[in-house]
Amino acid sequence: MKTILKNVTLINPNQNLNRKGIDILLTDGIISKIGNLTKEDKNDSHEYDFSGKVITPGFFDMHVHLREPGREDEETVLTGCNAAANGGFTGIACMPNTEPAVDTAEVVEFIKKQAANHLVDVEVIGAATLGRKGEVISPMAELKEAGVKGFSDDGSAVKTAGILKRALEYSNMFDLPIIEHCEDESLAGGAMNEGLNSTMLGLPPIPSIAEDLIVMRDIIVSEYTGGRIHIAHISTKKSVEMVREAKKKGLRITAEVTPHHFTLTDDAVRTYDTNTKMNPPLRTQNDVNEILLGLQDGTIDCIASDHAPHSLEEKEAEFEYAPNGIIGLETQIGLSLTELFHKKILSLEKLIEKMAINPRKILNIPIPKFEVGEKANFTILDLDEIWTVDLSRSKSKSKNSPFDKRLLTGKPVATVNNKLMFYKDKFIKL
């Protein structure tokens, strides 16, 4: 089947490509011509006019909780993938804190099977330790063979420096990163960032140093072992500064930030809205400013959602008792374009690097190329459309987000991958 995407702007920073007014011909989901289409090319092809829209390599979200197996009431691999496609992502990596945890090849294969034939590629992150308990390292070789792209005890950090050292030494054999949720257990357990707001709201505080101490530990252990660490959802000024220094020394440290950590501060918690409860917690403007700097100077490599679906009944509770986390797959691109691109924090090229290129580099996944013969793996963006977030139209099974009704500028229009296009709320065969 032939498909023509008309009059688009093609941008791929990985190929130094930026071309306007191009028509692209896809044949059975493969790029068969870029520009100079002939009459013959146009015969019996489906045409989509994407005038003024931008085609980028498919966006990739490296931090997603799909909840399957275990909490299929909150999300399944299928609903999570649908949310990803709707949110402009052609690939995601899912975290291993399921029930059971992803610590055997069987669970990896199960998730892969659930994701088969979807537009969205699902990569699996394996547990760093058995059952994420922090006692014994997971069967990393077997997990690697089953296809995992990294290891993590996400939800918590790898429990002790001793186990982390071992995990880094072992994972280094496969050049896969350990993805760390940085939080010191002895300082954890609060409900929001420690600051004036926690004092005024009477909510148990989580000090920023809970994150900083583990970032520091991890950098030190990474330097000692030579193993790769990826800092998940970085949220504090000091952590950003430490990662910057580590990178200057050439250490193997990368970092991601979520849209909520560069968009909101702990002022948002004043409503006691449980959709402002996440871990790490929303921090202060000071932290946000440093994160924006870190995004600009390359300290922070990528943007990831930490998409964390929770059931309404669990979130609709007292703030202290509600679970942490929000969904983010479908607001991430809009928030990033609004807060980073339109506010001139990042150029479009830099934004694409952080949302499509770098996550794949960190996880050793091939980066989509705009060349004849390559599989079409695109995100199509409208940079200027002004739209309002409407959670009731989310494809996710859960609706826990503080961004409902928020006005955003820029959104994904379509996603293309695996011979499918998601466009205008439908999957279309290419």
Binding site: E194, G195, L196, S198, T199, M200, L201, G202, L203, P204, P205, Y272, E313, E316, A317, E318, F319, E320, Y321
Partner: protein, 306 residues
């Protein structure tokens, strides 16, 4: 002039006029409590639910008495005897209670923000009787009432709140209320028990109890919660009593006639020595009586708002 809000969730942001009105109204009810028949028909036909998710005999009895003195129908809902232990959510419990057509809810809950949550899911007037370590507005109001009754003013007075500020809902409400009324507020306690950034509320932090006695007109001494996690924040009861406990010797040494409040129940020999707890400086039992008057005032002002 009526109150500016239909709920009493805390004293943060409550205007001076409202606090003044509550204190003045309490004066009227305080007089009722001295009558042979201590009952007025003001809230006849109104139903008040005391929704207590946490044990609190004193506050509950004080509210219950206030409700009865105002002739309201009051119902007690305590966590142990409720369906909560069967796993019903806070929201469902509240919806059920509301379906029984109640007018006002007095809520005590271990989680901060719970009273605010109730205002979003039901129409009744909500009165916060203590939420987590957030606020306990009626306690602060009765503290202010008692200080005003004794010293005839609040403006310009120097008041120090002593003890575990970080785990106290009484402290925050007192800080907000007293600051609004023009008092000069400080806090004194071990630094592990002083929340960070509290200075930004315009409060001075000291950790020397002698200094607190010398520099203030009033000490509001909080109960050290021996049974809670709070125990981990200081080395031993002995050390706390020695360095932060108020004793007669300490009052004498500093040669100071100072007013002492305590929200009760007292740990004798810990935050207050027995001599001080029964001494001439304290007004602890007046606080208890005034508590009923203050709660009557709040119930009356909110209950007759419409």
């Amino acid at each position: 002039m009526p109150l500016s809000s239909k709920h009493l969730l805390g004293l943060q942001g409550v205007p001076k006029e409202d606090i003044q009105l509550i204190l003045d109204t309490a004066t009227t009810f305080r007089e009722v409590l001295e009558r042979p028949i201590k009952r007025v028909p003001t809230l006849q036909g109104k139903t008040v639910v005391n929704l207590f998710y946490e044990n609190s005999t004193r506050t509950r009895i004080s509210f219950e008495l206030a409700e009865k003195r105002l002739s309201a129908d009051s119902i007690n809902f305590a966590v142990s005897s409720s369906s909560v232990s069967k796993g019903e959510s806070f929201k469902d419990t509240m919806r059920n209670i509301e379906a029984m057509k109640v007018d006002m809810v007095v809520v005590r809950h271990s989680a901060a923000g719970s009273p605010l949550f109730l205002t979003k899911i039901c129409d009744a007037n909500i009165i916060n009787a203590g939420d987590g370590i957030h606020e306990h507005p009626t306690q602060a109001l009765l503290d202010m009432y008692s200080i005003r009754e004794k010293l005839r003013r609040l403006e310009g007075l120097k008041v120090c709140i002593v003890g575990d500020i970080a785990h106290s809902r009484v402290a925050l409400s007192n800080i907000y209320g007293l600051k609004t009324m023009g008092a000069d507020v400080s806090v004194c306690g071990p630094l592990t028990m002083i929340p960070r950034y509290i200075e930004e509320l315009g409060v001075k932090v000291i950790h020397n109890i002698d200094e607190a006695i010398q520099e203030n007109d009033v000490l509001n001494v909080l109960r050290i919660q021996l049974e809670r996690k709070a125990r981990e924040y200081f080395p031993s009861i002995r050390e706390y009593a020695k360095y932060f406990g108020i004793t007669e010797e300490r009052l004498e040494k500093n040669g100071k006639d100072i007013l002492i409040l305590h929200p009760g129940p007292i740990n004798r020999g810990v935050e207050l020595s027995s001599a001080v707890a029964d001494g001439l400086n304290q007004i602890i039992l007046q606080q208890v009586t005034n508590g009923v008057a203050i709660r009557m005032a709040v119930l009356y002002l909110l209950g007759t708002l419409n």
